[in-house]
Amino acid sequence: MNLTKKDKKAFFLGAGVFAALVLVWTSAAWLVPAEAFQGEVYRILYIHVPSASCAFLCASLLFGFSIASLVKKSPQAQFGLWARASAEIGLFFTVLTLATGSLWGKPTWGTWWTWDARLTTTFVLALLYGAYLLLESSMPAGILRQKVCAVMGVLIFADVPIIYKSVTWWRTLHQPPTLNFAGSVPMDGPILRTLIFSLVLCVASCLWFVWQRSANLRLRLLFEDQSFRQWRGV
């Protein structure tokens, strides 16, 4: 298998986080009380909200790495790889958010989908992530790619507050944010606590994914460079 000691440590850590997450989700699916209005099906909250948060987190990471790659002289390739990994994992979580949201919408709202501001802007986020990845992989490495990707990174980052505020700025089917950053949160203790646990573990998983994917991208680049040099007989 040829994994290094560091590889094994990293994957053990990941396994640990994942095991903890499985425990929390088991609690979410069976142990936590049902909800007063929605009944049992509200439990999807415990995956849907953390997924969305991770999708937003990735946008922030992408933004940070994009700026860093423009500002810092070196190591630029590094920031580019971390940015790409953030975009990939960001897309992963955005799709998961849309899918779990849809599964939640059908039994509660009565519809799989609607083009209200919240759902539309989140869908746009997925498209933007996709476009970023296509652009990044279709352009040769260099200043132009860095700049174009940085611009895309800014657009993606800008969509996040729009998504968050969409339910307040416009009339939507989707309800306003429960986790508001001001005043009281309209969520009972046991529900909120479990949500926070799931959120923290999902964020940890998200960071782990970005970290490990970046490492793989770096290894791949290393392999390609080395392979090219050896082929040339240097």
């Binding site: 040829n2 590889d7 994942f18 099906v41 599964l103 392999f223």
Partner: protein, 48 residues
């Protein structure tokens, strides 16, 4: 009935996380082998 939706959502989440982790693991494994093979070839070439 709503249980179907809950099951689907959590199963999707679990499989997605597991799948991604597995993919990263297999990718890492493959890359390590490829790099090692390259280094061995380099070594052989230099000896020759």
């Amino acid at each position: 009935m709503t249980n179907t939706y809950i099951t689907a959502a959590f199963t999707l989440g679990l499989l997605a996380f597991l799948g991604l982790a597995l993919w990263l693991f297999l990718q890492r494994s493959r890359l390590r082998i490829l790099i090692k093979t390259l280094q061995e070839e380099e070594g052989e070439r230099k000896d020759a």
